[in-house]
Symmetry: C2
Subunit: 551 residues, 2 copies
């Protein structure tokens, strides 16, 4: 075998310079792989990723060395290694049958564009290292702002590129977006006043002292994303001050209970800093009643944030955008482009209704981010950042609103189709209906469903618990086994459905955002699950016996 | 012209599916560009990026539309547009004469590997969406941990892949790394105790109350990175509690003054939460006396963090690693791989001496990050994250320690060469000597240097101020003009050198981490600056007149 390398495996100044100046030979291993990526991504992923799951403990054996190797390595040798050790045991997130998480197939054009982005290696923290990427990112934020808030053209003409305004902040993902929104909410609440120089300068305890509150709180549905708890921890507020409000039978926050809780807290001299609406929830895909939450936030004069990290892309559908009605009243909105917008991982955004909102977290430095500059870094949590906004820009232009309309509608309608198939199948139970394109269900043999209905009609919670416990084992088995077989993947989670009197219920969770997922694939997923259920004979027979004996 | 598109510019379900299934034709605009990137990145960048700078206000005109376009667009048309509007007016950060910031040329192999990373589209938040990428990232953190802390092999065998330990956290960049370190320091200081459930649960004000402190503070050199102030704001501590300690003549923090300040604060019942050492500073590239800081941190029992975002890569050189002596005593260390390690933007890390450190920020969620899982997301500030660790892994293996030794040494020695050239040139003044590979200087005509020396010998601060003011104008002019000409780029900053009695001094700032920057290029930079200086006749003659009249 003749090896052609741009890079000899020895360290000399000359050979090292070559990795910066001489490209990989066309016939090198890496070039051949790259060619395959360009010509047939699905084929590459399908062939390169092992179908059968290898246990993590075995995979770890290939990543045991703790010393940086002394000797340089040939690029081709390295490529061969990671194809075997890494790529083969990565997750085929783009597979049409991978419907367990929010990652989808990617359009082809993002691959060469990503490569261009990496080659350009811009740093968006400041104009000096990003130039045109700065107005591009501002435009992406402007377009997404318009998608949510639909202000007049003059609004965007004046503010989109203004140094002292920002229509949003681009970031690595929804977690940073949510943290940024709550950071702003906190800082605006405790702004400078009289002797007090502001929470940003003097900290939370002096802020509380100055404003005379005993504590602050954030109100959110019990289905709020875990990043909110992380934000409360990080911001010095404490996780206990994320006040979790129960949801109704449709997994939407109970606004009456929130209103009541707000009154109680206010009476105890605890200031409500923000209400967070969820659109949709990570576990069931439901959207909170955003207009009612906006009313409440207005009444108690607090920040209203909507976490639409996953669901926000539904605004791109004229047909279904009504499902997020009220989102335009939010002070800030989180949307992840790497979820339903078909952009690769690492593209989060938070949008600000009021373009002066981010002033409360503005910071400067001598060598960059000078006062009056348009450097994006002066209003972001992150510092150095890549030019990911370019990929969002590309998708918005190349797919267009008309294209997204079709893609989003297809996803939502596919979820409705799948829900119907689950309902039609006597051995499955649809646990939560799809509002957007996420639903939960489980395998429950027909006889068990009948007996559980009976137990429900008698309000026999103890029997229900027995059924649910046995079903949990089976659900976990099916999910794990299906994943390990490598044909398809659904995720699982634990929720507390109103129907089962809030008993913990383990369910399959399915997200249908991949345009390549066909109805046939969905039918196969159910069939595969039915078959796997039979493999855990013990669990299945224990369940059936329980059902038979319940009279 | 025959257009070949994988994607017709119309929205139909079929045409949309094609962007996910049919690659770009080989003869399409985007494919041709991609080919050029693979074959000749430097050529592509050189030809595609406009040499002459276009004013930002004109660039913005191409990014004015605020509505997401309705109609889809051909990929080729989009590509043509961004080549003209975006790529042409991006910044040639990889140019050997772009020596103003910390971005360098990239090795060729990172381009195809990045494309593979994007195509695989893993999400590192959890194993279910990243599988082998999880142990890979843990190995990268292990190797970097070993680079800093050099623990025994058994340490890494036991802990590198342990679910309840982490040797570090991978993140988008140094800012998030620094925030993570200080978040951990804060949470460990205020851990649960008796009735108090911990700051993560109950927040900062209750923590202070429980522990009986009036406030908390972080001690750091006045040259500390601006992300530390941002962290203090975010964490609820307040920017005023970042206590800025003066530096000595070499821009290293004055440990005596820090010691004194620590005693004062402690006497005022202000708890010192952390000492941050800088290695090296963003503006002058100097390294704090880390061992002395470690001693002090030990004495007052606080967290010791080292911000080596930029300088940390110097540990890869056996010859120069001594410059960071004491870093191995830090509780946490920030290192950015996208600075001197030749990895593209978006690869930050914080390393933990104690693998249980991150326990203080651990969080879980039902559908992912279950207790006992090895999901990386349970101990990171960010949620969803791309598989950037792969690119660090690749560079560590392909370049190897022997390769980095050469690259890092070359950078440091190039900086010494350039410093000597500046000193040899009668019309330039070296303001700060390079300790790593960063230095600052300015253009000061010989006659002005003589008269400033005279003013210094007389301690005539008023005269010095006059000279410095006039020099500032000239320095700014040269820097801006040089950037606009597009041949080379140095950055500028304002520092307060001890030599000039802390008068604000505007300087050129140069970072020499690009392996392709030759001595010839450096000589040209000085020549170009001399020539540009003559263009601002007014500023130059005012300066010379001032010098002539100063006797």
């Amino acid at each position: 075998m003749t090896l052609k390398h741009s890079r000899p495996a020895q360290a000399s100044a000359d050979s090292l310079l070559r990795i910066f100046t001489a490209p990989e030979d066309e016939t090198s291993t890496l070039s051949i792989i790259e060619q395959k990526l360009s010509e047939d991504l699905a084929g590459f992923l399908g062939e390169s990723i092992a179908a059968l799951e290898k246990p993590l403990s075995l995979i770890e054996k290939d990543f045991q060395a703790h010393q940086i190797p002394t000797q340089p390595k040939f690029v081709s040798d390295y490529t061969d290694e990671i194809m075997q050790n890494l790529v083969a045991h990565s997750v085929h997130t783009a597979a049409p049958s991978f419907i367990g998480h929010m990652t989808s197939a990617l359009p082809y054009f993002v691959l060469p564009l990503s490569k261009m982005m990496v080659g350009l290696n811009q740093n968006l923290v400041k104009i000096e290292t990003s130039k045109a990427f700065t107005p591009l990112e501002r435009q992406v934020l402007g377009m997404m702002h318009h998608l949510v808030y639909q202000q007049q053209p003059s609004f965007y003409q004046q503010l989109m590129h203004s140094a002292s305004h920002s229509l949003g902040a681009f970031c690595s993902g929804g977690t940073v977006a949510n943290i940024t929104a709550l950071w702003i909410a906190r800082n605006r609440l405790f702004k400078a006043q009289g002797d007090f120089k502001g929470i940003n300068q003097q900290g939370l305890h002096r802020a509380l002292k100055h404003y005379g509150y005993d504590d602050i709180a954030i109100l959110v549905s019990e289905r709020g994303h875990y990043s909110l708890g992380k934000a409360a921890d990080l911001l010095g507020i404490g996780r206990d001050n994320i006040i979790s409000i129960p949801t109704d039978a449709n997994n939407k926050v109970d606004v009456n209970m929130m209103r009541q809780k707000a009154a109680e807290l206010t009476a105890s001299n605890i200031r409500i800093m923000a209400i967070v609406g969820v659109a949709g929830t990570t576990e069931t895909g439901n959207v909170d009643p955003l207009n009612e939450l906006a009313d409440l936030a207005q009444k108690i004069d607090c920040h209203f944030h909507v976490d639409a990290a996953w669901g926000g892309a539904s605004l791109l559908s004229n047909k279904y955008r009504y499902l997020l009605n009220g989102i335009e009243r939010a002070d800030s909105v989180t949307i992840d482009a790497h979820k339903q917008m078909y952009v690769p991982m690492g593209a989060g955004m938070v949008l600000f209704k009021d373009p002066e909102l981010a002033q409360s977290i503005v910071h400067h430095a001598e060598y960059i981010l000078r006062i009056g500059s348009k450097d994006l870094g002066s209003q972001t949590l992150e510092g150095s950042r890549p030019g990911m906004a370019m990929l969002v820009h590309a998708c918005l232009q190349i797919i267009g609103l008309d294209g997204y309309e079709i893609l989003i509608n297809n996803s939502l309608e596919k979820a409705r189709y799948f829900a119907q198939r689950i309902k039609d199948n006597p051995d499955f139970e649809l646990v939560t209906e799809p509002e957007l394109c996420l639903l939960t269900y489980r395998f429950v043999p027909a006889i068990v469903q009948q007996k559980m209905a009976l137990a429900l009609s008698r309000n026999d919670q103890s029997a229900l618990k027995q059924f649910n416990d046995k079903l949990e084992r089976l659900t976990r088995f099916i999910q794990k086994h299906q994943r390990e077989q490598g044909k398809s993947f659904v995720s699982r989670t634990r929720i507390k459905p109103a129907k089962y009197h809030r008993q913990v219920t383990t369910v399959f969770r399915v997200v249908l955002a991949n345009p390549l997922t066909s109805e046939e694939i969905l039918n196969q997923v159910l069939e595969e699950q039915s078959n796997i259920a039979k493999l855990d004979k013990q669990a299945l027979s224990a369940l059936l016996t329980l059902a038979e004996h319940y009279k």
